[in-house]
Symmetry: C2
Subunit: 331 residues, 2 copies
């Protein structure tokens, strides 16, 4: 592969915007697809995204912006997808260009509802992209802090570590450090599951549980995550590495976490519907809770926290009662 | 051992006060030693500790208060020590009563400076208390939240688990859940080390690092803690259990943590001396950093975070420079 590859980011949200910013530190040209043409027009005129982390400023001459996904796929050697998992399928369905020679990285934290697969698996099984051309970009990293250029560590996973290394070099800068991993399955599941645990943390907070309980909840969450991922893809991994534990913590503890915020509203008594209406962003964990719960019906791993979140979000159970029960199931 | 043992708490600080409160939920009489007679007089009159978690109210008829440590040692079958590690030796030196038949629990998070031993080891090696009569009470648990009766999980460790169980039953209540462990060495070291990592988290915050970095720091801290403890006492333990990871998180992330606050002041530019003067409570991690660093000189475990805190607190190195260097040593 070319050491100076053409890279394009697909998505118009916070995380997509943050990744474009990282790439602009190193590349002369960065492709950026978003479906919203008016946002593109706004960026061209005002040099920042109108809707997400708008304090991140761009030199528009570096940006190759387009709302034509096929044009962007054609342009790029490396495609980075950062679209909410619920909308990925609809976007992928638009693609008519052959993807088999492309390198595709997922920066999406979730399961594609239509296929029940994580994004990497979906690319491999549904779009026939060879597994060695599929990778994952994962945190711990709130996009908001990338905008502020606060030091962040990303993990780039790919079974072909040379490809991970190339992308890592393209996004490293004085405020981004990158680490390479070969665990594409585990890092992607971790990125999905942590959003469920962040919702749980938010619910607990909303119900009035304190810091002592939160720490127990997070300690149980990482053990649950380890069991869940081990069942799906057993390999040697240190679950306490930044891509797993760090990602859980930044989401579970940070005020920037929309999943935690969503959970907090649920805990305070909002209905799921009203909490979703109040928030202008999508809480990925809402979809992840369902996907993980359904997936686990056959895997049968002990997942009391995922079960609790599922019961509250999808079975209309009372958060207070569910959490009272949960406190007996964790330690 | 008697199933209804006489229990006394030694210490007048937040954590001692919280443990007395927990015991009062179950016992008719709780012994409480503190050296400050005027605080005892105040409690008898006002039904709360004047200096620490003063919102915790007591029925003084339940309390057997005394500033005579020998009287209290004589009274009790189970002694719970919750005195800052720097002052333990001076208090223990006052004891003339034979301790060999007593059961002694440590609720202290630190190393006794004079002996360089954690409290359990000190009891065993210096006071000849049999190892099966020594135990540890550990969090994650901020005393402030016990005062508010917020649900908290404690771990009670003793090689003789029956003894841990008895004490566990005495402190369990509708807001305290207890878990039994046989890892007295590991839980006690974890309780000590977490304060150093909380200082590191505070320094990072004070220097302007954000949530993304904090999560990486915590993820590295738990791995460092695991290495450190494994070297000292190798046994099967899950470092992600609440007594280890939970305790680290509650201290590293909570606004109630005085160690984090102390670190924050250092990061913001206070000298060690002025930060200590500003705070009315002792940051245990200050002493722990020195003890852990010295201990590790012979163990030679890779501990970049402990080293960084030590350099700042004891070698007068610039926090900004030390942390800039630390960012290269963690991932």
């Amino acid at each position: 592969m070319n050491k100076n590859p053409k890279i394009a980011v697909f998505g118009g949200g916070s995380w997509a915007t943050a990744i474009v910013k990282m790439l602009c530190e190193n590349l002369e040209q960065v492709g950026w697809y978003m479906r919203n043409q008016s946002a593109i027009d706004y960026i061209k005129e005002n040099e920042h995204n109108p809707n997400y982390i708008s304090s991140a400023e761009f030199n528009v001459n570096q940006l190759n912006l387009s709302s034509d996904i096929n044009k962007m796929v054609k342009y790029a050697d490396i495609l980075i997808f950062a679209i909410p998992s619920a909308f990925v399928k609809a976007e992928l369905d638009k693609i008519k260009v052959d993807l088999s020679s492309k390198i595709v990285f997922s920066a999406i934290k979730g399961i594609i509802p239509e296929s029940g697969l994580i994004v990497g698996e979906h690319f491999n099984k549904k779009l026939n992209i060879p597994i060695e051309n599929i990778g994952v970009i994962t945190g711990p990293c709130h996009a908001e802090e990338v905008a502020m250029e606060r030091l962040s560590y990303l993990t780039i996973a790919c079974q072909d570590e040379a490809k991970a290394k190339i992308l890592g070099d393209c996004i490293s800068s004085n405020y981004i450090k990158t680490k390479i991993s070969d665990d594409i399955i585990g890092t992607e599941y971790a990125a999905m599951l942590k959003n469920i645990y962040a919702i749980a943390a938010g619910i607990a907070h909303g119900l009035g549980y304190g810091d002592n309980f939160q720490s127990v909840l997070m300690s149980n969450s990482i053990r649950e995550m380890k069991r869940f991922i081990k069942k799906i893809h057993k390999m040697k991994r240190n679950i306490n590495n930044s891509a797993y534990l760090g990602d859980l913590l930044v989401t579970g503890y940070s005020i920037f976490s929309r999943n935690r915020m969503f959970g907090n509203m649920i805990g305070k008594g909002y209905t799921v519907k009203s909490a979703m209406m109040e928030m202008s962003m999508i809480a990925e964990g809402y979809y992840a809770a369902k996907s993980a719960y359904l997936l686990n019906e056959k895997n049968n791993v002990n997942t009391p926290i995922i079960n609790a979140v599922y019961q509250i979000l999808y079975e209309n159970k009372n958060p207070k009662t569910v959490f009272k029960n949960l406190t007996e199931l964790i330690d």
